[in-house]
């Protein structure tokens, strides 16, 4: 009887077939392509557009050039810092970084670079396109862009994909669209309107005398801009991996990466030479420097894959052997700037922090300006321009104890 009890089900079990369906919610970003000719013809001072995702910022005289991530550059007349006026928008799809020499502006455009004459910001003129300068520019996640055209926009589509469980992992994504997997904890996909290009951090372009230096994920590029309208590319230099930022100081370049800060000599401006490296734990790494110290911020999250949130102060008296002087714990420090003994740090959700850095071993916090996720800051003429998640701020810090908000250009919430 027991044998019958066991045998019958086993005999018929071969007819059974279990069912398993795998579901995954993903956000797809479908690229909208435009022809290269049309896109390039449209790189000019077009009608101003509202701020949506501000990135890097650059000042030239009374004009602010503010990057709109992956879209182009806002041109803002800042003759009156209390009343800045958004006067034009230069459409440059794929733009993440800018650098300016005199009246010439250099901007990346996905894998290419465009040279613009900005003598008249209301009527910028394209001078040159340099092709395939940044071949490493990609969006990741398996997406492969059609390089015969240029991505001018993204169409977001949330969808649930169902597949067999036999595939052994998450649902495969497509090469022709950019996908983000569903998120439970951490960053929500709901606020993402499009994929930002890989490497969207603080400055990756910088100019020293007649040379434009750019960093990609692994290379340092040198452009001779003696003739500003005709940049001539030199040989790229491999400088390691996971490169994040570049900062010039005197005859040196400070290059931040996920694993540390590197110092390059510009004794030969066409062949930067490695001098020293300051290593730290894996993190993101904007850096500035003064005569004696380098100031390095590390923050976790995003592409940085680290867990540290701090300010490192590195002594530079022996550039072949930079030494960590002190570490200050922060919330989520990003861009920073220094004016004399005043050190400005964008500390994420903690806002903009102003320190008296006359004694680096004992930074004195002078003021905290509450903003929504401070990202980057530059200072000039006792005015701090701050890029945050909700807009562009200008603060008068002529009296550091009484920082005064001069103006704010809000982020538009409209699609």
């Amino acid at each position: 009887m027991a044998l019958l009890l066991a045998a019958v089900p086993i005999l018929f079990s071969a007819c059974m077939k279990d069912s398993c369906k795998r579901q995954q919610v993903i956000t797809m970003f479908i690229p909208v392509y435009g022809s290269k000719a049309d896109v390039r013809n449209n790189i000019k001072s077009n009608a101003p557009k509202p701020l949506k995702k501000p990135g890097k910022i650059y000042m030239l005289g009374n004009t602010i050039f503010l990057n709109e991530i992956d879209k182009g550059i806002h041109v803002i007349d800042n003759s009156n810092p209390s009343n800045p006026v958004n006067i034009a928008f230069i459409d440059i799809p794929g733009n993440l970084d800018i650098a300016v020499k005199g009246n010439i502006l250099y901007a990346d455009m996905y894998t290419d670079m465009v040279t613009l004459d900005i003598t008249n910001p209301s009527n910028v003129i394209v001078k040159k396109f340099s092709d395939n300068i940044f071949p490493y520019r990609s969006y990741g996640n398996g997406f492969v862009a059609n390089t015969d055209q240029i991505i001018i926009d993204w169409v977001r589509k949330d969808t649930t994909i169902t597949a067999s469980c036999d595939m052994g992992g998450p649902v495969m994504v497509r090469e022709d669209v950019f996908t983000l997997a569903s998120a439970s904890t951490g960053q929500s996909n709901a606020s993402i309107s499009g994929p930002a290009g890989v490497g969207g951090s603080m400055a990756r372009f910088t100019i020293v005398n007649d040379r434009l230096y750019t960093v990609s994920n692994s290379h340092l590029d040198v452009f001779n801009i003696s003739n500003a309208v005709d940049p001539q590319r030199g040989n790229p230099v491999h400088i390691g991996w996971n490169i994040e930022t570049i900062y010039p100081f005197k005859d040196k370049l400070f290059i931040g990466s996920m694993t540390g800060m590197q110092v390059y000599s510009l004794a030969n401006p066409d062949a930067p030479a490695h001098l020293a490296q300051f290593q730290h734990a894996q993190s993101c790494d904007p850096v500035i420097a003064d005569d004696n110290y380098a100031y390095v911020t590390l923050h976790s999250g995003n592409m940085c894959m680290g867990s540290l949130n701090q300010l490192d102060i590195v002594k530079l008296n022996n550039l072949s052997n930079p030494v960590l002087q002190k570490t200050y714990q922060m919330t989520s420090p990003h861009g920073l700037s220094k004016d004399g003994n005043l050190l400005f740090i964008c500390d994420g959700e903690a806002g903009l922090k102003l320190y008296n850095a006359s004694d680096v071993m004992n930074l004195q916090l002078l003021k905290v300006v509450s903003t929504k996720t401070a990202y980057d800051v530059i200072t000039f003429n006792k005015i701090a321009l701050l890029v945050g998640d909700d807009g562009l701020y200008q603060y008068d810090y002529s009296d550091p104890s009484m920082i005064r908000l001069l103006s704010k250009i809000n982020i538009s919430l409209l699609p």
Binding site: M1, K17, S19, R22, Q24, V171, A181, S182, G186, M305
Partner: protein, 191 residues
Amino acid sequence: MRKWWVIVLLLPFASLSQEKETKKDIPRLNLHVIVSGGVAAGEKSTKAVAQLSGGLMFGPFFTGAGVGVDFYHFKTIPVFADLRYSFGPKKALFVYANGGYNFVAGRNLEPVFARTKDILKGGLYLDGGFGIQAIASPKDRVGVSFGFSSKSNVHIIGFSPCTGGCPNEVVYTDRFTFYRIVSKLSWNFGR
């Protein structure tokens, strides 16, 4: 004429006999408890199952509720409604149907590196079939049944595609339905 008093004397006995026959024909509501154990065989494996049902028997119908343990693939505890119908000579044959929900029991999943989420949930439980039963004692019956069963589970898996953490965690959901042939030996207490 002399026989009329015999008829009068016998009348009460006649009515008494009829009364006994009527009580026998009316089915009674009885409490029954059914304990069963057996195997469930499917695509993946053959595993043990066990059940305990309690309910009311009214004539050939049994209705009740039960709880069990099911070791097929994931260890689960089905909670179900139990219906049976007995028929045939001496009600030796029966058909049954169970329907309910199977809950996940205990630790089913081993830790997997890089998984940020590993959640197992229960689902629908169904079982139906037929059997034969015989009298085991004055009040009990023993039976054997064969049936077709299905149980569903949901497995939610999350992992971080980057070492050290990424802002977006990859999460996917596997929805299982297991189909099995089940055979059980049961003891029915109460009659």
